[in-house]
Symmetry: C2
Subunit: 340 residues, 2 copies
């Protein structure tokens, strides 16, 4: 191990001919130091290449300025954008993102242990495998948690969610307005909360129009899985006139499968809708009708809720829903007559 030739506030104090606490004061906001002292200190610091040690500061302040962000690498495709924006909003609050991945339930204990050890100021969880138990652990240590696109049944933790019900209702309404009657739901992985929320949103919306028992196939959010499960479904079932997909990537996979292997057209023969509003959804070959999540506002809300909770731990848990925004593309048309 290397012994870093660290330069400490004592070194600077010595060089500047002042006390160590004088040096400390120069680097703290809202503390009064005479101009003369400040200049002497800054000059010495510059010469020695001194930077205050945030670790030592953390130990005293009981605040690290770090926010743990937990993601699953297998997550829905819009996570990069979410992560980038979270990071930006967190940086604006003058805090830092400490990144954790949680891919399967077994790692849960380890990850939580590490997060607790690092004394983070708060946690943003974007992941499945995050059970009420985990939340309790953070609560015990007074570490605020905000869930992103995930809510606990008892709403005991603050959440920021896209309103998947409302989004799917808009999509289903469009399909129904186009006289569709034969639907297929292409759902996401069963262990994903978002996928479950979208599935139940689709079912509820269809139900409200009197459509019961709609068939469901399950993919894993990926393009390939969409093609595979649609292909398998088509072999054994009559084709629907409309497919409601759990995300845009699967919608795109469905479209390609319809065109390439089922030899049908989108939207003339089959209509397809997605969810997320990823950039590929607007590409000319697909032009998906979809619902985009207001990522900017949702990430901002998540960070603000968390920061408030850090400052005032007694704020009760709040669930904030954001409506999705309908993007009408060219992937929905009137249901074909001959299919009734």
């Amino acid at each position: 191990m290397n012994k870093k030739n660290r330069v400490t506030s004592y070194d600077v104090a010595h060089a500047a001919g002042v006390s160590q606490s004088a040096v400390s004061r120069v680097y703290r906001p809202g503390v009064s130091v005479s101009k003369k002292t400040r200049e002497k200190v800054l000059k010495a610091a510059e010469e020695l290449g001194y930077k205050p040690n945030a670790i030592a500061r953390m130990l005293i302040n009981q605040s690290t300025g770090m926010i743990a962000v937990i993601i699953s690498s297998r997550a829905n495709v819009n996570f990069p954008e979410v992560l980038a924006q979270l990071n930006k909003h967190i940086a604006e609050k003058n805090k830092r993102v400490l990144l954790f991945t949680l891919d399967d339930a077994e790692q849960l204990e380890t990850v939580i242990e590490q997060i607790l050890a690092y004394q983070v100021d708060g946690v943003v969880a974007l992941t499945a495998h995050f059970e009420p138990d985990s939340v309790t652990q953070f609560a015990k240590h007074n570490i605020p948690v905000v869930l992103y696109n995930r809510e606990l049944p008892d709403h005991s933790v603050s959440s920021v969610c896209c309103n998947h019900d409302q989004g799917l209702r808009m999509l289903v309404d469009i399909l129904v307005n186009h006289h569709h009657q034969h639907f297929l739901i292409m759902a996401g992985p069963k262990d994903s909360d978002v996928a479950r929320a979208r599935l139940s949103g689709a079912r509820n919306a269809l139900l409200s129009h009197g459509f019961t028992d709609t068939n469901v196939v399950y993919g894993d959010y990926s393009y390939d899985s969409a093609r595979e499960c649609l292909s398998a479904y088509a072999e054994k079932n009559a084709l629907p006139t409309a497919i409601i997909c759990a995300n845009d990537t699967m919608a795109i996979g469905a479209i390609d499968e319809i065109r390439e292997n089922l030899n049908l057209r989108v939207p003339e023969d089959i209509s397809v809708v997605g969810f997320d509003g990823i950039s590929a959804s607007s590409w000319h070959s697909y032009q998906l009708t979809t619902v985009s999540q207001p990522t900017y506002f949702m990430t901002k809300a998540a960070v603000e809720t968390l920061v408030n909770l850090i400052e005032s731990p007694d704020i009760p848990p709040e669930t904030r829903y954001w409506p999705g925004k309908l993007i009408e593309g060219n992937s929905v048309a009137a249901a074909p007559r001959d299919n009734e």
Copy 2:
């Protein structure tokens, strides 16, 4: 501010009826403690909900176990994958990712200051705006740095790079083998190192086949920019028979522009090649001929290089090149005769 009711090793020691250092020993690897003591300590710790404070440990160990990863949010599209994999490899080395975004040169000083304050063990930089000066600053503080897909002219810092020259040579060779003679290079943003490397790779490869002065248009890596700059180019110039794009996203944009607005076919009328091997490149509507970066190996190499450097700071800077892998799609065909 909340006064967290932290439980410290002293509390545990008291409850277990042992000394504080006994508690400490239980939580340190490779330190011998009697079974009896260990059990007493673990029991007390469990009851009190004790977790060792990593911050205090850092202060002594002179090692935080944190790696700063610097990204730019405007980066090339495959960054999410890179970040996820870096994070995974770093976690395997039992270290943590502290995330920093660097979008413009002005933030550079602030970001560096923060990274230094946080006493990270090392830095992985995936960003432009990272000048030799910045590297010097980290060197002064003995913080190892590894650049990802970026190299300094003097090779004074370790780098892990995809061999863009070799990748572009493969792509250009394919086009030349298909008798193409009229090329257009669609380059990425001028301030991106990767974009520059790919541009010069394309030029060199073309040059080696005797093609000089190939026209270049500049996009910003995005789908829209590709469409815009191709559209503007087409208004004033004869169309090429082959377009060499700086990344897959722009290649896809170019294909859509060719099909939708130029009313030509890909690959029959114009061939298009990309770079990166993003998942959309294999979608049925595009089937790009492209070169994929060995992201898994590159990220692993970057982390290993960095960890070695952390353990043995005297290792001289090394540049590791990884070859891209050619993926032959269906976006290249023989050059049309009538275009010569």
